[in-house]
Assembly symmetry: C2
Homo-oligomer: 370 residues x 2
């Protein structure tokens, strides 16, 4: 938000964050660095972000009294996850400016809305059909062909709510597996790698995109992001252009993550957008140790009406997630003096739980491969 | 501290910080990044570090009940300022490990003890006499000569507790000005610049020194630190060696700041130690944006028994303090994309008050001047 005179939000103002996980925690640390106060709202007691916030609200997202107090105490509100209930966002934004805007949230919460938005923006995506019932899958398969992927429209992340259909006989199991909910059936694009672009857009429309990172997954969860991505200069430029087009079309304010598939097959586009995330993104954590201004500070700057910081990369980087028991490797990584350790203060280690990450930085030698 | 098995302190442990100013705040942010919880003890309500800590203790340093609760709740304790009362440090360290150690605190709290320690370690310092009364000054002046500086032994910082003696007739006024307290009369060294070395020493004796920074003062308060300092490779090496000797002699754990005068006059040493600070130091703030591991994280690593991080400088840097009304220049600096803004969350702007700092980073071109 800007204040009434159109000036940026003053340090000493209070930023509200919905969601108290590691992304909220790292946003809070970045906001504190700039002199802001931070309040965190999250239903779960002992949320990681609570421990670094001036004030915590451990209430349900439906608790309108608690939400009202939160809105009253804050000058601008943001969120760390895209599944903020629509009515919560609407309630809060009527009282206090909320960034990124409700339109971005709506698009990102529903895969069908997301696909329709991307098509309307002229962005290449994999062919798909909307699915409401098992029969829809059977009708769509001849067009989409196999292998294809059935993806629930809502609440999917880290491979959850997805099922691969290798042949027509998998349709029924896939439909059951995703919970018989509205979905899309998507053609499988034979991609050679996945990249993501993390882009910031300010209230004045200024945009700063970070260099694309290349993502490696393990068990459907992001394992590593490598920067620079092993792509051509043309693909690099095209990826940034796509991210800019999306941010512009959403009249977006804050950090936006855009995941894309890179193809090299004849007759296909070079890039297909797979997913957009209206928030700071796991594949942007490398910016903490390799860029002048990282994604967390950039997001805070944007929502507060500040100019964006420099996004140039001073080092190459490899970000590695510490998932579940990987966490216990922290002493190993702490002893490597080209690695930076980031731990989230989570008390219980569970399989698949994101416990921390490490950034390896490498003196920058070259521009992206041509 | 290390735990009973001699292993480093686990993330999720709680770090206690004495003092709630900007240094405590930035230590807290660094500790949170590594997954630690932070408790802050400071007599002043609304201390900047309180807002980013899990728990705050706004009690007097003489309140033994509050200190006992603080010690009970924390796994290791450190401090952001060297004037922690000796009995407070002794009380706490009997219950919970306290770093840097009591010896370092004792030396740094008293200029006479500091000078005696430096001499015993073989470090060059300006000639001085111990002063207990006005007559001591009169007796010492023929030896120390003028101009010279009268410095109170205790509680001096940012030029406070100091008076310049230009000729013998200034003695009485100087003695009155510093409050007629134990002092040293120090010869004025014709120095060409001041540099400081920020060095970390771990519990295992590992040391990482940052490149020397060159300090510029305004109204006796640090205004800018420029890195690299404009000194020869020999002086650079000698400065690091002095800092290492001091850290070693104190069996020091944590970040130590060592201020030195650089001389070029025939017959004088190249370097004289002016002051040591047993804590993170204003002249080390540039490390936040120009080094792999900054002084704040390095201090936390050291006191927790972790290995130290990499101290290499990936960029050149100029740190500028925002003092008093300089604070209102934050929008100017926020708009420069080679500057990083750090604000301390202080509500009231007062002349001489440190409100924040900005780090300008410059792609690194060269090794220090030869």
């Amino acid at each position: 938000m800007t204040n009434k005179a159109g000036l940026p939000l003053e340090p000493g103002s209070t930023i509200g964050i919905l969601g108290g996980g590691q992304l909220g925690r790292m946003l809070a640390l970045a906001a504190s660095r700039l002199g802001f106060n931070v309040h965190v709202f999250c239903p779960e007691e002992n949320s990681p972000a609570f421990k670094v916030a001036e004030k915590s609200y451990a209430f349900d997202y439906d608790d309108s009294q608690a939400l009202a107090r939160f809105a009253q105490a804050t000058d601008v509100i943001t969120y760390e996850f895209e599944n903020v209930p629509a009515h919560t966002a609407a309630y809060l934004s009527a009282k206090t400016p909320l960034y990124p805007n409700a339109g971005a949230l709506k698009v990102a919460q529903d895969r069908l809305a997301e696909r329709e938005f991307l098509i309307s923006t002229g962005i290449s995506i994999a062919p798909f059909h909307a699915i409401s019932c098992l029969e829809d899958i059977e009708r769509a398969l001849p067009d989409i062909s196999t292998p294809s992927v059935l993806k629930a429209c809502r609440l999917g992340y880290d491979g959850k709510g997805q099922s691969i259909i290798k042949s027509a006989k998998d349709a029924s199991d896939a439909w059951t597996k995703i919970g018989c909910v509205p979905a899309i059936l998507e053609a499988f694009i034979p991609f050679e790698r996945e990249v993501s672009v993390i882009i910031a857009r300010s209230q004045s429309g200024q945009m700063v995109a970070y260099d694309p990172g290349e993502n490696k997954h393990l068990n459907h969860i992001l394992d590593e992001t490598i920067v620079p991505a092993n792509i051509t200069v043309e693909t690099h430029q095209k990826a940034l252009e796509i991210a800019r087009d999306i941010a512009q079309a959403l009249d977006y304010v804050g950090i936006l993550g855009v995941e894309m598939f890179v193809c090299n097959s004849p007759g296909l586009e070079a890039l297909y957008v797979n997913e957009i995330a209206p928030r700071v993104h796991n594949s942007g954590h490398w910016t903490q140790d390799a860029c002048h201004t990282d994604q967390f500070e950039q997001h805070i700057r944007a929502i507060c009406g500040w100019p964006l910081g420099g996004g140039a990369r001073h080092s190459d980087a490899v970000m590695k997630n510490l998932i579940g028991e990987d966490y216990f490797q922290w002493p190993h990584f702490a002893a490597l003096n080209d690695h930076s350790v980031h731990l989230y203060g989570k008390v219980i280690v569970r399989p698949g739980r994101k416990m921390g990450h490490v950034n390896r930085t490498i003196p920058r030698k070259s521009m992206p491969k041509t």
